[in-house]
Symmetry: C2
Subunit: 254 residues, 2 copies
Amino acid sequence: HGRVVAIANQKGGVGKTTTAVSLATAFAAAGRKALLIDMDPQGNASTSLGVALGDRRPGVTELLEGRTPPAATIRTTLVEGLDLVPATSALARIDEGRPQVDARHLGAAVTAFRITHTDLFFDCPPSFGWLTLGALAVADGVIIPLQCEFLPMEGLTQVMETIEMTRAGPNRNLALDGVLLTMVDSRTNLARDVERDVREHFRSKVFKTEIPRSVRVAEAPSAGEPVLLYDRNSPASQAYVALARELLTHEAYR
Amino acid sequence: HGRVVAIANQKGGVGKTTTAVSLATAFAAAGRKALLIDMDPQGNASTSLGVALGDRRPGVTELLEGRTPPAATIRTTLVEGLDLVPATSALARIDEGRPQVDARHLGAAVTAFRITHTDLFFDCPPSFGWLTLGALAVADGVIIPLQCEFLPMEGLTQVMETIEMTRAGPNRNLALDGVLLTMVDSRTNLARDVERDVREHFRSKVFKTEIPRSVRVAEAPSAGEPVLLYDRNSPASQAYVALARELLTHEAYR
Ligand SMILES: Nc1ncnc2c1ncn2[C@@H]1O[C@H](COP(=O)(O)OP(=O)(O)OP(=O)(O)O)[C@@H](O)[C@H]1O
Ligand SMILES: Nc1ncnc2c1ncn2[C@@H]1O[C@H](COP(=O)(O)OP(=O)(O)OP(=O)(O)O)[C@@H](O)[C@H]1O
Ligand SMILES: [Mg+2]
Ligand SMILES: [Mg+2]
């Protein structure tokens, strides 16, 4: 019951953090016990959930180095039913480190977390270093946020190669849960053209729900709140709720 | 005469590639001999200048591993006066590698390139791995593109820490040439608030020129052309030309 999901794409600024925070919030609102694990040295997911800079240790760095019991890294958040394992910039040294040190501890931590939480979401940094590869190695599924522009679309090939590499290596059961179109501005031809190309190529692997561009999303992190709380009526919030509903009806998320 | 400039910010999707390609194009149009070095395994700068996927070796990877004379990695582009050293996804293994291998070869390559080109621009990936640290170690100055939103603004602290670390370490002369506000949508309060905060904090270090959001920028890479050629009259193209003029009147760029 429940699922471990990596939100990943090496292209920067495509909406990984926004998707991880919004989905985890929507799952919590639907009664699941969600845990968001911030694997990005930028700590954007931690900021988006209002966790102060001074309250982020022990966090993911200590978890990956096996220096802290997993339970000690968990913070409650302002969202009922959503907890967080925070990140600090110290995590950057892990991204360039040796994978065998980190993967063992991460696997053990995921097993421990699944006792207390139904769904785990990893917010990955914009690279395929050890942090993203570690998350893919322990995940059940991957969601790929995709901004509807040309350069992000071109990057999809590298994402798919990395998923195949992970399946051939440490995690043969890793599934592509879906490609999520984000920051969609349906007034532009570019967004419509990219959307048509992506749906033609990935077919049923592209979620029906797409997330519209909405400035309220970009404002929410300054208030330390997920956009679903900051402005529940914004089109993007509504879309993330619809996405959660689309996922929760999937067999894989039962 | 001339300058070696790194375009860097670990936050993803803030306009690093767009700035590197547009500035290098504007410098070439002003009569300089520019060389763009694509340090990103995504190869977005190579795509934006129309260099085919099959024509990217030898490129930056071979350069950093010292397996190719620097001159053999240079490609001409459709822009008169602008050359490129292309990137492939193989570069990703360097980002996690050992810095002492790459920094030596990169320094020698920069010395060689400066004989034939006046200005070198490094397009950096969204991380502070060896690729970005290597570019910072050999650069004269850094330009930090900044999207006018909250999470990118918060990331500025980490960028400044990395510049200070580089100055205390391998490159004591590294200068902050400036912070560039990108994708500015002056209709939103958020962009105005972030701009006010950044200008208050960084004062004269923020360029007067700012780059407006313009869909033509996002379309240009699909044509394999810099936006300055794709649509010279777009507000963003005009802004990048103004930025080049602002830089070229600086003593440091003489
Ligand atoms: N639907 C949306 N509408 C408007 N702005 C959005 C939307 N989704 C994300 N944003 C904004 O775009 C920027 C990039 O989004 P986000 O930080 O979530 O991307 P990311 O992929 O996590 O970036 P990184 O690669 O740096 O980790 C942020 O400032 C965010 O607030
Ligand atoms: N002024 C602008 N107006 C509209 N779109 C823009 C503008 N500048 C950049 N873009 C688009 O925004 C997206 C991100 O820009 P770009 O790829 O240059 O950022 P980046 O910082 O290099 O990203 P990464 O972190 O992945 O390397 C691209 O699709 C680009 O075409
Ligand atoms: Mg993020
Ligand atoms: Mg880029």
